[in-house]
Amino acid sequence: MTAVAQKPMVAETRTEPGGSWAAVWALALFESRRLLTRVPVLLAFALYLGWTVWRGDKAWGDFPALQDADRATQGTPLLVGLAVLLSVNHAALRSHRHGTDAHFAVLVLPPWRRTAAHALSALAAALVTAVCVAVQFGREALRPGAVGHGSVAELLVGPLTVLLFGLLGLLVAGLVRSALVAPLLIVFCLFLFVASTGTGDGGTQWLMPVVGEASTNTLPTDLIGRPAASHALYLTGLALSLGLLALLVTGGRKPVLLAALAGALALTTVGATGQSGGVSPALAKARERASVHPEQVQTCVRRDGSTYCAYPEWEPRVAEWARVVAGVRSLAGGAAHERPVVVRQRVDARYGLSGDAALESLKRPYEVTVGTQWGGNRVPEFSAAVAAVLIAGDEETATSICDGRIVPVMWLAVGWESEPLDALRRVRLNDTITGSDSVLQPTNGLFMTEAQTQVLRDLLDLPRGEATARVKAHWAELTAPGVTAAGAAKLLGLPAPEGEDKCL
């Protein structure tokens, strides 16, 4: 053998700080960067953000109830979850698809630790989602009119869904080494979402990652009764189980992994059991009490002689209600101008979030109902209710007004607003400002005939001071039962209406 300059080949081990787990971490950073720059993931996040920003201003305007806003963060991350499922699956199959298996098999980091890095990349996507959710919710919470309390468990559902889907994609990559499976799985998931919306049958619906509610009712936080904490626990356990299974499938055989899997399955079971409990008797009782005897749970404050009774979370909103009451009373004539009212906040919580039961009108004099939602159409609706109660004396009578008194009622309801016609459009069921239409209120509504609408429009066309003076001058006649639209027009010095004047 030729003598060649040879260096002794001693078996030295390259020492790296941290060992294998540090390598997993380094790989996780690499995979996370790749995952978060895949086209489907970018597209999903863009869509998610676009959708959130676009819809954010429409949902509750400036007066969100945070116990609703937290749930509203759950739906859109599903889209991100599907994109992450696809991308994590393809990343995990990358070596297989491009024939680098043979090469990479002799590299130091064992396959199951590579899987762990992929799992951490799904976690990174979940963290980005968590930031999006936090921003989305934070934006609602920072609105000056926000009330109520968000639930951390509800907020966690979005990020946990993304994690769950990512780990599902990873597990599937470990089980079936074909890239076609993930797209097919997504078709199934898509279908499941479509199928699961609007069908709630007790405990089983909570096995889905995101559980929507049929109603748009807003309840006090303690009456919602969604097993949010158990559900978050269930999702966490499920995600952990999938992730640990993926590690085991790709060759992780440590007893620690098996023990952790057992723990994760136990967590899932605890969560699943906890969320299938249904409505507890105590909750049902509390709901009954808050719905039927709200005075027992409410605190009342006085403003300008009127009394405002609200569920504890809504106390900051009293000022808004007082502003409306003051506006309505400022236009009223006679005794109504000074008449104190009792504003009673009410909600029918007996069916939880599964039904929108209409509220019965109150019978006590000068007591008027306000709902749990505010902003947008809810303002002129409340205004109309206050006006009708001031004129008719109590809510039950007020909601059955069927004569020309509608004209002063609606004048009071919308006349004080800076854009009365806009308020009128919003308070009417079909968004009309001519012809006949129903007027919405927190309890039962009213009906405006074509003639009444016409008189009101003529009145609104006058300068505000002039119109206020005319209404106040003839207050007693205008608010007397039995007055007709034509009569009201005559009293107000307006042209006689030509349209139909017959209520339903």
Partner: protein, 286 residues
């Protein structure tokens, strides 16, 4: 001196065929060439030594560790560079990302150190300019060099290269030889190839495999010497030659057992290789 590879009696069966049959060898520093026809068991031997495939029989150590134990295998892999026959590549990775990815899988965890090392090996294979290009945009030769860079990353003590010069043009092959010769300074390189020129120019030692066995183990000069006096020139094709062909000058170059008084030519490594295989074939047939 501790040999990098020390193997005795390695055997491996694929179904009914013996891919490796009682292979024993010791490798120390420098570049060792592995020659052999297709199906000789070269790739199998390389995969066994690179811990990609377990052997059925025999015992061997690589870099002082026993690859048949999980722990030993990990230790070997920490100090190993492997370029498989068909390396495969991830089309949407950049060259840098691909080598960086391999470096991470080699458990290089310090990001700064790793990135410096990746840049170093990419410079070394002459790809500094296309570092940021996606693999799908690179030519075949460039991809092969990226794969070599991936094998070199982390300064491995033992480099296993399976036909690294396949599909390269002469200039690229030259560049590759430079690289491999450089890599052989201070570490052990085992290079499998069909190109006898590669072996003649690069290796201080050559192994010839056929039928799963090692048929020759010595220096390239010794292999060439096997053909001494067995290559001759003639004007007609010599029926007694094992192989013969008309060269560019019009005369025939014959390899085999020359007739008396033949016009002997200077043998090349290839002549020695062909004659070794020829003998091996006879031996296998016998």
């Amino acid at each position: 001196m501790t040999p990098t590879v020390s193997a005795s009696g390695i055997g491996l069966r694929y179904g009914g065929t013996r891919a490796l049959d009682d292979v024993s060898l010791r490798l120390t520093g420098g570049v060792t060439g592995l020659l052999g026809p297709n199906g000789a068991g070269k790739t199998t031997l390389l995969r066994v030594l690179a811990t990609a495939l377990p052997a059925d029989q025999g015992a061997f150590t690589v870099l002082g560790h026993d690859p048949s134990t999980a722990r030993g295998r990990q230790e070997v892999r920490r100090r190993l560079g492997y370029l498989p026959q068909t390396p495969g590549f991830h089309p949407d990775f950049t060259a840098f990302e691909f080598v960086d990815y391999v470096a991470i899988l080699k458990e290089m965890t310090d990001r700064g150190v790793r990135h410096r090392e990746v840049r170093r090996v990419l410079d070394e294979v002459g790809l500094a300019d296309v570092r940021g290009k996606r693999m799908r945009k690179l030519s075949g030769g460039m991809r092969q060099r990226v794969a070599l860079a991936a094998a070199l990353v982390g300064d491995p003590g033992f480099l296993v290269l399976d036909e690294p010069t396949v599909g390269l043009d002469p200039e690229q092959r030259m560049r590759f030889r430079e690289l491999i010769a450089g890599a052989g300074e201070g570490r052990t390189v085992l290079l499998s190839t069909h190109q006898t020129e590669d072996v003649a120019m690069l290796c201080h030692r050559v192994l010839v495999m056929a039928g799963g066995r090692i048929r020759f183990d010595g220096t390239p000069a010794e292999l060439t010497a096997r053909a001494a006096g067995r290559v001759w020139s003639s004007t007609e094709r010599d029926p007694g030659a094992r192989a013969g062909w008309r060269t560019g000058t019009g005369s025939f170059r014959n390899v085999g057992d020359p007739p008396d008084g033949a016009d002997l030519l200077e043998p090349t490594l290839e002549d020695g290789y062909l004659l070794t295989l020829d003998g091996a074939g006879a031996e296998v047939a016998a």
